[in-house]
Amino acid sequence: MNTVKKLLGLVWLILAPAVIYFLVSGAITHIDPSGTKDINNPVVWIIIILIFTPIAIGLFIFGLYALKGEYAKLPSKSDELN
């Protein structure tokens, strides 16, 4: 199982920048000042990209930890996090 955890870490590492790429390309494709839908609205895209960038960075770090085997053993008690 630990090998699977590590290998999947690589997937999360790749997925994180891919999410940002798709959001930015989605924004470029759909932003249209003359459009009336939410997906044409630049403010909505700015908010979403702003909030999703740190989440994607979080996914990247999660992948990095997984790849390094940091999730091989989870703490059995929250006390271990102190």
Binding site: M1, H30, I39, G58, S78
Partner: protein, 520 residues
Amino acid sequence: MNNISSRGIRTVIAASSVGTLIEWYDFYIFGMLAKTISTQFFPEGNATAALLSTLAIFAAGFIVRPFGALVFGRLGDLIGRKYTFLVTLVLMGGSTFLIGLVPGYKSIGMAAPLLVLLLRLLQGLALGGEYGGAATYVAEYAPKGKRGYYTAWIQTTATLGLFVALGVIMLVKMNMTDSSFNAEWGGWRYPFWISILLVGVSIFIRMRMSESPLFSKLKAEGKTSKNPLKESFRNKANFKMVLLALFGAAMGQGVIWYTGQFYAQSFLETKCGIEFEQSRTIMLWGIAFATPFFLFFGWLSDKVGRKWIMLIGMLLGIVTYRPIFNFFLTESKVENQLLKDGKLALQPENAQIKKTDTLEKNGNLVFINHIETKEQFADGSAVTFQYRDTIVSNQGVLDLKTTVSSVPVAVNKHLTSATYWKFVALVFALILYVTMVYGPIAAFLVELFPTKIRYTSMSLPYHIGNGVFGGLVPFIGLLLTTSFPADALVGLWYPIGVASLCFVIGVVYLSNKIDENVTD
């Protein structure tokens, strides 16, 4: 643990749950009345008002909720759970009541949307701080082996808040005309005003509660965190668990929660075109039947662990969303009874001109008749078609031969009783999945983190999962529908995709072991 009587724990649960329920109610009524609110405060054709409207809808959920989780989570770990979730309650109730008092754009101009935006942002901030406090407070009182069951009461509040909001709005709307409801000082304001009464009662109950015993003990020993944000997110061991909580549980929970409760409702109304009363009561019945299962799955999670219940809930959503929503779509096409040789055979004698617009084009007058025709069927179902007839006058003489009719749009569909109850059963199933992912998650999050930074550490992943991943369901749905218009169900690939990702992470990385001791 603590020696609290069963009556005492019931009071703790009631005080926490009622407040959280009211906060959800307050948050929902704004969204449910968005159409009326936008007419009153964010008029069309005004670019600044449109910008403020966008911020009110998107920023409140996506940015301010996680930010509220950080601000109030930190406060809760520094000064205590009780006072922090009292502050969030006052902030939420006050903002909601004040939204109901803001005069419309017609009366005070740009100040109206600005005030509403500000109050909406305060609502988002308060909601971000409330949940973690309530869940932590109850969990820190709960005895071993019952944490899942007791915190599940908090978990019912998000759905019951929706139930109360739907019910209150329906009651107000059913007791007045549309114009009285939508007027500047009309019925749409009543749900906002009612909030202050509910909040007053809840504050009174919460004021009489004591601080969480675990937090009080930490405080007495001088062991509370000095900097909860730093200890939560810069301590690698803890941050690892925050990431795991988000990607292995909270994000999947968020999309299942949103799809079951909100996407389903919007789908029934907009994509299926079911009339207001039927679509709302379908949701109400579904919620009413499914809500006890929050408690059941919370209780079950104390016996068999939290992980698999949440993951099975996600898996059921992944596998059945498309068939269920496809059923909604096909079974609501009552207008198919009018199809003859692939074309709609409308009865012209039922047609009524509701409104006529007149405009001038190339020196000729153009008349646009907005027509409605209601078709009633023998099985009890009905449908209203809306279309426009455009007639051009030639030198002042109407030439009916020039009439161009737009494609009729089927609206206000009334389902047969049998189909109605099938829909209720399927909405029940969708909300049952919500109860599986959502019922045990408070206990799961509480057990993951130590007492001194619990409020901060659990609030952020929860609100990113629920607010950001869940809140994006309609936006990404619209994005997908625009990109792939041929598939009416394409919007479901977002919740299915996120839930699948979360399912894989959950299966591989999460532990099913319950941490019995939360006193650390």
